[in-house]
Symmetry: C2
Subunit: 364 residues, 2 copies
């Protein structure tokens, strides 16, 4: 089996895979109702929130779409804070459903400046909501969400956060930071296969929901909440197996403890960055905001990134990601989130050290 070191899907522990193989049960029966209630309660602990948390069957991108259509009306002005592919995607979704986008784009590899967000909100008083990516998977950058939240909430705007690749791995206290909607996906730090999105919904977000006029049916938050409260069920047949798996993974996470998980991700990420620098390869992300779930490495010194990735796979059974969009061929990305230890990342760094010269890297 290859060692999967991409920023999602992430490897799953054996206990989780065993849960994936459980036989089906009635999704409208008492046994499943209890599991869904338990998983929801445990999710809230990791989200550090008293807000509602809803489980949607779909990819993370489905969670982004759900957020847009539940919070906005056609014609609403929203500020998009984009630092990469996924920030652009969030804005693109809102635009597709009729939002008017005010765009604050940051050079890829850098984080958003909270002061610039403040200024954009001042310059555009009609903005209703701010779309922001907590952790940008495409560039390996983590935004300073606490500081951004401060300026957004001071301005009285709705804060909609893509935390797909950060929640459960990087500290994100939803209530403390007053985030209105926060989205994550099962295949990231949760150590579970893809197929579920999670969203937390604040009281203020529910008020926005009541006024929001973008058309929605499958993704409707209120349909999900009503039947959850009333019957501990999902409105549509959910991905039962993945909920079984989440139940097991969340127990593992709560046993380790969120602060310990966050600290482990920080240690592992530091090891990755130090290792890459020791090899002499440049980090793509500005180090002050480097992500603790994914490290992006730039090409340099004659390195053929495609060849490096092939060598890592063929000779070391290690799979890392390439770059997306305009970064294709220009960076590679090491995922270190979820079920990952120092030992795993040391192996990855050792393999890169051996393989880089074979892939043309001359050192400088």
């Amino acid at each position: 089996m290859d060692q999967l070191r991409i920023p999602g899907p992430t490897p799953c522990p054996p206990e989780v895979l065993k849960a994936m193989g459980r036989q089906m049960i009635n999704h409208r029966g008492p046994e499943f109702q209890k599991i869904l209630a338990d998983v929801t309660a445990k999710l809230k602990q990791i989200f550090q929130t008293k807000n509602d948390v809803l489980i949607l069957t779909g990819s993370g991108t489905g969670g982004l779409e759900a957020t847009a259509v539940n919070m906005l009306s056609p014609g609403d002005k929203v500020l998009s804070v984009s630092i990469g592919v996924f920030g652009d995607r969030f804005a693109n979704i809102a635009k597709t459903f009729g939002a008017e986008i005010v765009s604050y784009k940051v050079e890829w590899g850098k984080a958003a400046d909270p002061d610039a967000v403040k200024k954009a909100l001042k310059d555009n008083p009609g903005v209703k909501a701010v779309l922001v990516t907590h952790n940008e998977t495409s560039t390996g950058v983590t935004n300073d969400l606490g500081a951004i939240s401060k300026v957004v909430k001071e301005a009285g705007k709705l804060l909609l956060v893509d935390a797909i690749s950060s929640m459960s791995s990087i500290n994100l206290p939803v209530d403390e930071w007053q985030c209105d909607v926060v989205i994550s996906g099962s295949q990231k730090g949760w150590m579970v296969p893809p197929g579920l999105a999670f969203v937390s919904v604040s009281e203020e977000a529910w008020k926005a929901h009541a006024a929001a006029k973008m058309p929605r049916f499958y993704w409707d938050f209120m349909r999900a909440k009503s039947i959850l409260v009333e019957k501990s069920q999902n409105p549509w047949t959910p991905a039962i197996s993945i909920i079984f798996a989440m139940d097991v993974a969340l127990d593992m996470m709560l046993k380790e403890g969120l602060p310990n998980i966050v600290a482990r991700h920080a240690r592992v990420a530091q090891l990755a960055r130090d290792g890459i620098k020791a090899i002499g390869l440049p980090l793509f992300a500005e180090e002050s905001h480097a992500s603790n779930t994914v490290t992006a490495v730039a090409g340099a010194g004659g390195l053929d990134i495609k060849k490096l990735r092939q060598l890592l796979k063929d000779e070391h059974k290690i799979v890392v990601s390439g770059g997306q969009s305009t970064l294709d061929g220009k960076i590679f990305r090491i995922g270190h989130l979820g079920w990952v230890t120092e030992k795993d990342i040391k192996e990855v760094i050792a393999a890169i050290k051996v393989s880089a010269p074979k892939a043309g890297f001359t050192g400088k």
Copy 2:
């Protein structure tokens, strides 16, 4: 382990559950590309089509929403042929996104009359598309889709078919019947856990797609097709485990052979209906159009349906479904689709025979 006899999710064979427990791989890597291409090719065989078949991560209801938003524009007039809860849901989705619904509703328990569809199309020449449920899970009725298709296509309309609980179990030759979009879901006859929807898309449907203006992003058929053709990938991270499981289940299905599967479902359903009648309970669906995947049984002779279901579960470890919407408490439903044999249904009938008198059934 209970015997799950509800109309989805259905029990999964051990080979399928084993595939569900496979470790994650890169959804953008060559190994997964091959699996996705294989699964797509095998799906086309069961759909009996040369049309595109797309795999979407979501519930069956997501497949219905996807179909509406990819085929229609706000203001489009559509004929809804509804014979139950799921027919109503399909119309409700289209309406939510701005379609104007012309409603042909049939008394629950009965099938749609193709002549009435013909008349409705004649009376409403502005209709662009017809929404029809092949097999109505809520009532246990299968529409005569071949005959309905004939009048719809003679009138030159787009035919959008909810085949969530029929495709792979009941004969539905997509090309022969000229169905433009046909939707199914993994947790039905496919013997796989929930979390994926499948849609076939005809050439005429692609023309409609190009003109359709309902907003769409996550569900966009063209995004799914482009990356499938170009890279054998999904646009968003798919439910990898469920695609692994489909790969195995489709091999089992093709080994058994579609005509044999269809014949097995017909035999098993006949056993269910004969067994229920022998006990003296009335079938809810008109027998000429009774479904071969789900049998709906009406209450009679003092039968307490809720109590019967509880007895079946407690004393026989058999789970059957209740009624939905206004049929709650008035019918129960036996699912017999996917991984099901004559022996399974004989056990269910034997258990009902023993339990019905304990649940108040006096025979007449």
